[in-house]
Amino acid sequence: MSNLFHQDVLTALISGGVIAGIPLLLAACGEAISERSGVLNLGIEGMMILGAYTGFVVAYYLHSTWLGFLGGAGGGILACLVMIVLCVWLGLDQIVVGIAITLAGEGITSVLQGAQFGTTYPRLGATPTTSIPLLHKIPVIGPGLFEQNLLVYLGILFALFLTWFFRATNVGLNLRAAGEKPEALDAAGVSVVATRSWAVLSTGALAGLGGGFLAIVGAGVFTPFMTQGQGYMAIVICMLGRGKPIWVALASLLFGISLSITTALQLAGIEISTDLINMLPFIAVMVALVIFGRRSYLPPALALPYVRGAR
């Protein structure tokens, strides 16, 4: 039954796309916060993988999905503390520290996983889902969109919240000022360092949460290097979405779908090299960059450390 448009196939595609898209959505929203405040967070890949590991371990030992998510956020926060101290407080190079965090995250999780489980990869059970009354009965998209883990809905709500937060709150304005012109924020009497620290902290938490979701809900298992560049993809999504949470969320879900095509195609009985499928999101990004790259927007003070009265 190689019918691409069979109901099950489409449902799997949508459902898988949402599950694959949520880690991207969380991480990319996190990156949006960080970039808006002027910190380019290249360590987000490392924060995700650490979050995936800590999230998995917590969920595995405490048998709780939600504690697992918390653990994931905690892992992300742990990793981003390094970035806060080195880049925001001391003003060190954000790119080098970002690369270091990613390498350290990948290395340390692999070492810890090896030390703990050897070469076995224990799996978690299925995670609970929350059905949205009525809506989940809609054919095709119902089971795909409205019968998901609660965090899926929360993640999408978060993107909406973030839009409002950026627009209507003082802190949102401060974040933007920190990325556009930090000396202006400083002159207005708001600490640039504190603003950026909180921004990076939330980025770490969100990236870690995304990693945790990836391991706990998405895969049900932790394997070394399992994020496979999704952190970098989050950065690109953030750039393409011009840091606007709604666009970032939509783009994340689209990329999620392209990540989940493999499974859907297998269901449809179509055999395509998984390598090719895995390349698709990256090819999509390159095409998007070639077409829209000129229109991407980065805050003027991005990646520049702020030192008051620097001369």
């Binding site: 380019l40 080195l86 390498l103 090896g114």
Partner: protein, 399 residues
């Protein structure tokens, strides 16, 4: 020359960054050495603490690394490992000096490696061995170079951030390599996804008296050539100007677009050569999902060597020992070899911290060129310079 009032800052003179400079006191040299070595030592100590936590004896581990990486005949393994590492390092140096973050080295390397592994078995049998090697090296270099073209064009013409584009191209390159290995280059005689294995006598010849293949000499020669190019030729100076201040490069009439593409090209070329040296010298074939990620591990040493292609050689030698010895040592104690990745990350982190302390004491020079720090700034933006007039330096405002 005496300083004049208002020019008091002149008393604080730093040694120019350019290679081949005449000034440079012994004290400064010692200081530089210390600043280069301390991060490595600190990382080894911190790694040792980690080992202790994991229940291993760090001293035993490090002596095992030394034993497996340098003693007896083991140094020859390390020397062989140097070839790809050094070529990648030199390739990164060209890009980094030009203020270009070529982070697509994994894709450039693996794609070259896959294509070389696919072509080599027939070429070495059909052609004279020397000619076959020559062609294979050229092909490998070109593949690596070509894989930089899209990011290079995007950066040169649209100013698209190359960190992102090279990373994306890297993932695509790695995927494409897998498809090639599993598809057209698959060895039909085995069930595993891999290419045909080269016969031992059809691989790169050894340096007489050793088991070290001549790819290592290619790497060393490349380092010397690039050193000369950087320190003596007009290309090198242009690259340095571009790296330090892209707007100045445009102002003084350097063809910036062309130079970005050229620098990218040579960077990818050297990384491609690294693949040829490694495949033809050590492995003889490539397996699917094999990704040594040499480039990841090379980055800290490139910075520690202050982007100098000769100074990077001892650092690479050190890491080659750590890498070959460490692979065996970690296996011995049952740790994943990714422990080495942790060490590398620690070196990078300590490097930035030492850099910070050094800057505080305003000693020596920075690990990074000014421009590299600002890799993400768009052109046309002003930047704060190092100069300061007493009390009145106009603070340049971004845009």
């Amino acid at each position: 020359m005496s300083t004049v009032p208002g020019n008091e800052l002149l008393t604080e003179v730093e040694v120019p960054n350019r290679a081949g400079d005449r000034s440079g006191a012994v004290g400064k040299a010692i200081d530089t050495v210390i600043r280069s070595l301390v991060p490595v030592l600190l990382a080894l100590v911190a790694g040792g603490v980690l080992l202790l936590i994991l229940g291993h004896n760090p001293f035993a581990f490090y002596s095992s690394v030394w034993e497996h990486g340098a003693q007896n005949k083991a140094w020859q393994e390390s020397a062989k490992r140097m070839a790809p590492l050094l070529l990648i390092a030199v390739g990164l140096i060209i890009a980094f000096r030009a203020n270009i973050w070529n982070l697509g080295y994994n894709g450039q390397f693996l794609l070259s490696a896959a294509i070389i592994s696919g072509l080599a078995p027939s070429l070495v049998n059909d052609l004279p061995l020397g000619l076959a090697f020559l062609i294979l090296f050229v092909v490998a270099g070109l593949v690596g170079a070509i894989w930089t073209i899209v990011p290079a064009l995007l950066k040169a013409f649209y100013d698209t951030n190359e960190i992102i584009t090279t990373l994306m191209m890297s993932f695509i390159g790695v995927g494409l390599a897998q498809i090639l290995i599993k598809g057209p280059f698959q060895d039909p005689s085995v069930n595993i996804a891999q290419t045909k294995v080269l016969e031992l006598d059809k691989m790169l010849p050894h340096i007489p008296g050793t088991k070290v293949h001549i790819g290592v000499l290619v790497a060393l020669a490349a380092a010397v050539v690039v050193y000369f190019a950087i320190s003596r030729t007009s290309f090198g100076l242009k690259v340095d100007v571009l790296g330090a201040n892209p707007r100045a490069a445009r102002h003084v009439g350097i063809q910036v677009k062309q130079l970005i593409i050229t620098s990218f090209f040579f960077s990818g070329l050297l990384i491609g050569l690294a693949a040829a040296a490694d495949i033809l010298g050590v492995w003889g074939y490539i397996r699917a999902n094999w990704n040594p990620a040499y480039g990841d591990t090379v980055i800290p040493f490139v910075f520690l060597a202050r982007l100098n292609p000769l100074v990077v050689i001892p650092f690479i030698a050190f890491f080659a020992v750590l890498s070959t010895g460490g692979t065996l040592a970690t296996q011995e104690v049952g740790l994943p070899t990714d422990f080495l990745l942790v060490l590398v990350a620690l070196i990078l982190l300590f490097m930035t911290v030492i850099e910070f302390l050094g800057r505080r004491r305003s000693l020596g020079q920075s690990y990074l060129t000014n421009g590299l720090r600002e890799a993400l700034r768009l052109p046309g933006r002003k930047k704060d310079g190092a100069a300061a007039e007493a009390g009145e330096t106009p603070k340049k405002v971004a845009r």
